[in-house]
């Protein structure tokens, strides 16, 4: 019986959903006030954790035969559920406060079967909202925006938005590859020098948020700098070694991927929602 209750409650209170496609809906404006920069308290998220903990509290106590403790958690869950249902008016229809009340009653009845049934129904309201909104909310509110981040182009000495800077950076990389392939050494050296300077300057963009420098070191640290130095050296030869240069560019690209894997998708989603 205990195992039955454990499995049922765990699976229903979680965030389980599956689909063959995921559609991202723009999170409602009213959610903004519960995330930075408007608030540092993450009130909405904090309520999610509170409810998840309360669900587990019910489960844990029932499994240990502590119905009094389970009721306390059920009441906490109901209170937070009702409070949360009022936080984002656009999402009020996801919430069914009656079901939270039913769960309290089920715990009061001390019937495991009733608790499983009530948990299932209440858990489905959570799962529906999560399936519709969780990914988009994560991507929009859990990654700071690049909107206010500017970076000075070391070639043209102009402050640029992140996207525009990236364009210049990649264009100088592409120019290097094109000229090198065509055998235009002098133009390749110039494009390469521009690319190296722009790549070196990336670190100043990371430091706008990553003030402790650790993540910065992982992506654009000593290893990255070493590859840039090597590229600089390869390009300074009278007859640059094309194969070695492309190999070094591959190593540099690893750093690009590391950063993009973390930041590019949220940035693209945030930008798409702004249009």
């Amino acid at each position: 019986m205990k195992a039955k209750a454990l499995i049922a409650v765990l699976s229903l209170s979680g965030i389980l959903f599956s689909a063959d496609k995921v559609i991202l809906k723009k999170p409602p404006e009213s959610l903004k006030k519960f995330y930075p920069p408007a608030s540092q308290k993450f009130e909405f998220l904090s309520n999610m954790y509170s409810m998840s903990t309360a669900f587990y509290g019910i489960n844990l106590n029932i499994n240990e035969g502590n119905w009094k403790g389970a009721k306390e958690w059920a009441l906490k869950l109901k209170k937070t559920y009702i409070e949360t249902s009022k936080m984002v008016p656009e999402w009020k229809d996801y919430f069914k406060p009656k079901l939270a009340d039913n769960l309290v009653k089920a715990v009061e009845s001390k019937s495991v079967d009733k608790v499983i049934e009530a948990s299932k129904k209440l858990g489905q309201t959570c799962a529906k909202c999560h399936a519709d909104n969780q990914v988009a909310v994560k991507l929009v509110y859990h990654f700071p925006s690049f909107d206010n981040i500017k970076i000075e182009d070391p070639v043209e000495f102009m402050e640029l938005e992140t996207g525009k800077y990236m364009k210049k950076l990649t264009n100088s990389l592409k120019a290097l590859k094109v000229y090198l392939t065509q055998g235009n050494v002098e133009a390749a050296q110039e494009a390469g020098a521009n690319f190296i300077e722009r790549a070196r300057q990336l670190r100043s963009m990371c430091s706008k948020c990553h003030t402790n420098k650790l993540s910065e070191e992982v992506i654009v640290g000593k290893e990255f700098e070493g590859h840039l130095n090597k590229l600089e050296e390869l390009l300074s030869a009278q007859k640059p070694n094309r194969e070695e240069i492309f190999k070094t560019l591959g190593s540099i690209g690893m750093s690009c991927s590391r950063c993009h894997n973390v930041h590019l998708i949220p940035a693209l989603v945030q930008e798409a929602f702004k249009k």
Binding site: F157, Q189, E190, A193, S207, C209
Partner: protein
């Protein structure tokens, strides 16, 4: 006034006299303007400093997304500055930035600390020689402090950024100014000094320009989180008449700032170089202006 003071001395002794003049609000972390009631000159200097602008700086407001990046805030409105310890964010008068009480008032002693021994009836004062040491500044300027330590020089932060003003009155309020002799005082403008041309050595070597910071005992430029920059603009003129431009940004955030006495090589495009015209400029973290530090033409020595 003097007979009155003598009478008070006679009646209560010196200790009681001190308490007669204590102004309680001075021990309640007042705004900086309150300190100017007596320390008018120091207040005027501080108002010209970056410490005064630390919180209200428009650039800081933008960079912190309207003060949302909380990890940046404590050093811009510290509660209490102690050597080597990161301060806490102050709750009140944040617009005062790095204020008088932030540096001088200590909760532990409920008194104003400073480098001088003074008798100050309106508030208790304690002499504290940590104010003369670089470690005092390290609570916020940690990166710069590390760079300075590596430079192994005797000059402290204060020697350059709180230059001596000679002997001056600490207070300008009657009657207290009558009780004090002028004391050795240092500037509270905390000048962000500009490197002199001779502070940066520029040499031409085969295939490269070599820059060395020989005069400033920390990185040039330096900052913990700000983004000051040095700009190198070089025009390379080759024997065959070709001209190429080399441009570089050297900054603490891109880890390219010039460390003290560590040569930095800047590659120039290959070819037979006749001369290189170099300009070195700086831009402070809070300014748009680029200021010239040095301009020099380097020639390849004749074989």
């Amino acid at each position: 006034m003097i007979p009155l003071l003598l009478l008070l001395l006679f009646l209560g002794g010196c200790e009681k006299l001190e308490t007669v003049f204590v102004e309680e609000d001075l021990l309640q972390r007042p705004p900086a303007k309150r300190c100017s009631d007596c320390h008018a000159d120091i207040y005027r200097e501080w108002k010209k400093s970056r410490h005064f602008h630390a919180w209200t700086s428009e650039r800081f407001r933008i960079e912190t997304e309207n003060y949302a990046k909380v990890k940046c805030l404590a050093c811009h409105a510290p509660h209490q500055v102690d050597p080597g310890r990161k301060p806490e964010l102050r709750a009140e008068f944040r617009e005062d930035g790095v204020s008088c009480v932030a540096c001088h008032f200590k909760e532990e002693t409920k008194s104003m600390h400073g480098p001088l021994k003074v008798w100050s009836p309106p508030h208790p004062s304690k002499q504290d020689l940590s104010y003369t040491k670089s470690s005092f500044c390290a609570s916020c300027h940690r990166e710069t402090y590390k760079e300075w330590k590596l430079a192994k020089v005797e000059r402290s932060c204060q020697s350059c950024h709180m230059p001596s003003l000679g002997k001056r009155d600490l207070i300008q309020k009657f009657p207290f100014h009558l009780f004090h002799l002028a004391k050795p005082r240092t500037s509270h403008e905390f000048p962000s000094l500009k490197a002199r041309p001779e502070d940066v050595e520029v040499r031409l070597e085969p295939g490269k320009i070599v820059l060395t910071n020989v005069g400033v005992p920390h990185n040039l430029p330096t900052a913990d989180q700000g983004d000051p920059k040095l700009y190198l603009l070089a025009e390379v003129i080759y024997s065959d008449g070709r001209r190429k431009k080399v441009r570089k940004i050297l900054s603490p955030q891109s880890k390219t700032a010039l460390a003290y006495r560590e040569p930095r090589e800047i590659r120039i495009p290959p070819g037979e170089v006749k001369e290189v015209r170099v300009k070195l400029l700086r831009r402070l973290a809070w300014s748009e202006e680029k200021e010239l530090i040095k301009e020099i033409t380097l020639r390849t020595p004749s074989p």
